[in-house]
Every structure is written in C-alpha cells, then in structure tokens.
C-alpha cells in the first residue's frame, strides 16, 4: 500500500491545535490539487480540529498525537490520547432549537466532526484512545 505518514505530537493547548490545523490544511491543499474534484478538504480540516479541540478540553491526556496518513484513496487522521475510554463517535445531535435568548453556545463540535468526515472509527487499546477520521479521495490524477 502506497501511503505517506506524518505524526505530530503536542501538548494539549488550543494554540497548538491552530498549528496542527495549518499543517493539515497544507497537506489537504496538496492532496486536493492532485484530484479531479478538489474535494471538501476545508470542511474535513474542521472535523479534525473539532476532534482535537475535544481532546484538549476533555481527554485529560498529557500529550496528543495526530497521525496524518495519505493514501491513494483515503486521507486518514488518527488522533491518539491516553487516559480513560473516550469515544466521541456515538451519533451526536444538535442542541434543541430554542429562542435567541436561550440559544446553546456549545454542543456543536461533535455534530460538525461527524458531518464533515466520510467516516469515523474508534478503538481503545492499551490505555490509548484512537479516533480515526477518514476523508475519501476521489479521482487522484498524479502520484504523491
């Protein structure tokens, strides 16, 4: 299998999420440029950012790793944290519709994460939470 892999490891800080997003965006732009459809890569970047934000805020993990794997047919982002089981793949729903005065200011991240990726996989192994977000690549026209 012809697949390129990059691992980023960082401390749980929202400023670091920004840096990771920029790196991922660069990779996505490179992948999008080599496909026929251009793809919905900015939205997939948002899905990954939401997963990273969730990990920073809730996982309690002292470090977060993101493996970015670029294959011929898929772009996979594998988010790894340590700590208790933390599965965010259960179908999420939006906060209940309400008036402007009562509108929820949170609870949108998981929905965005699930809507903006083509697939989500979760496993818990050896004390590690491994969440994989998948973006299918259509019509790859050149190698690399």
């Amino acid at each position: 299998m012809n697949e390129s892999r990059l691992r980023l490891t960082f401390s749980p800080d929202f400023n670091n999420v920004n840096l990771v997003r920029a790196a991922l965006r660069g990779i996505c732009d490179d992948v999008a440029g080599s496909t026929e459809d251009g793809g919905c890569y900015p939205l997939f970047c948002l899905a990954v950012v939401e997963a990273l934000n969730n990990a920073v805020e809730h996982s309690g993990s002292p470090a977060i790793s993101l493996d970015i794997l670029v294959g011929q047919e898929e772009l996979r982002c594998r988010l790894i944290t340590t700590g208790p089981r933390f599965d965010s793949t259960a179908p999420a729903t939006l906060p209940e519709n309400s008036s402007v005065a009562d509108a929820a200011e949170g609870g949108y991240g998981l929905v965005l994460m699930q809507e903006m990726s083509d697939g989500l996989e979760y496993e818990y192994c050896d004390g590690q939470n491994i969440l994989t977000l998948v973006k299918r690549i259509y019509g790859k026209t050149r190698k690399g």
Binding site: P42, N97, V100, A101
Partner: protein, 113 residues
C-alpha cells in the same frame, strides 16, 4: 485573529480577519462585552476576511448575539464565505443569527433596526 473596529454612525463594524477558533474566541467575546458595556447596541460583524471558524468560534458568535439581544440591540453577520455559510447551516446557527450577504446589506438592516 485581528479584530478591527470601525464606526458608521451608531453602528459598530467589527472586521474579523483570521480564524475565530477556540484560541481566539474569548478575545472576541471580551471585545463584544466591552462594546455592550459602553452602550453600543448595533453591531455588524464583517466576516469577509475570516478564514476559518470552529464550533468554539460559532459559540462565541451565538454568545455575542445573546449579549446584544439582551441589551435591546442587534447583531448582524455579513460576508460569510461558502465554508462559513455551511458551518452556520449545519449547526442551524443561521436560524438564530441574522446574516446579510454583504456589508452594505448588513448596514441597511441595522439602520432600520
């Protein structure tokens, strides 16, 4: 993220340039809080230069909307690009926050508010 403030009569125009995300959401909310405390109640957020928004940024916009409404004022967002528009649509934020296609349209809505 850079926040640039302009005035058009009684209307505050806030230009958001960069990324409204978890790392910058509090700065944005603090800016809106200061404006409301100083009795500015008509706010146009020009999102044309905005590159990226996440759910924290969206939550901050919703909070700002609530602050203005609570003060008897109004908030309008303008210049949403396709990506930001999609985020608003999926989260149904477009049902809670008034959106104008352009800065001019947004100002028009606030003049008549």
């Amino acid at each position: 993220m850079q926040i640039k403030i302009e005035m058009d009569g009684a209307i505050v125009i806030m230009n958001l340039d960069g990324k409204l995300v978890a790392a910058t959401a509090e700065e944005f909310k603090s800016t809106v809080t200061r404006l409301v405390e100083r009795k500015f109640t008509k706010l146009l957020i020009d999102m044309k230069p905005l590159e990226f928004i996440d759910s924290s940024g969206l939550g901050a916009l919703i909070a700002a909307n609530k602050m203005l409404a609570g003060a008897g004022g109004r908030l309008v967002c303008s210049g949403l690009n396709e990506y930001v528009g999609k985020v608003f649509h999926i989260t149904r934020a477009d049902q809670k926050i008034v959106i104008a296609p352009s800065r001019l349209d947004g100002l028009g809505l606030l003049y008549t508010a």
